[in-house]
Symmetry: C2
Subunit: 100 residues, 2 copies
């Protein structure tokens, strides 16, 4: 394998694990106020399409990196959306709040 492909593999591996610290932070603190829901919707959509791309090309590194990336993005999105739904439910009772 030439050095260009090695750079691509390292880039892919770094990207694949990059969401993990954010998952840990969200699971630990439960707070998602500063996180953009739209960012993680776009990111999850992009990772899903890369996963489809990898499956169609039968390229195992692309499949593995994006499979784990997608799970991580969905965990972050789950916490974000859950917090927003919880905030809205509280606002129906207490009026506008500053958390999400």
């Amino acid at each position: 394998m030439d050095y260009i492909n090695i750079i691509g593999l390292i880039a892919g591996a770094m990207g694949g694990i990059s969401l993990f610290p954010q998952v840990l932070k969200v699971v630990k603190n439960k707070s998602t106020k500063d996180i953009s829901r739209e960012m993680f919707l776009l990111l999850a959509g992009s990772i899903f399409l890369w996963l489809v791309y990898g499956i169609l090309l039968n390229n195992l590194p692309i499949i593995i990196a994006n499979f784990f990336g997608l799970i991580q993005a969905l965990i972050i999105l789950f916490y974000k959306i859950e917090n927003q739904l919880r905030k809205r439910a509280k606002e129906r009772v207490y009026g506008p709040l500053k958390i999400s």
Copy 2:
């Protein structure tokens, strides 16, 4: 171009613009408490290597998507690290604080 490459192009374009809503949120609110610095360090590193990969392969779509992605990741990191430095400076004066 076959449909597999089109899926890859859409995935790349979605990934390239995915950080933009987070940049807007950070610039607007200045708050970065819930954002993981390690996530954006890994992501910026990954995007930088994809940029190098694109330059070495002379692949313009990869270069463009990752050039703009890198700028966005660095803006988010800049706000995060600036907030952390500001927090540390305040803590030297006032003791432990809960912001970052």
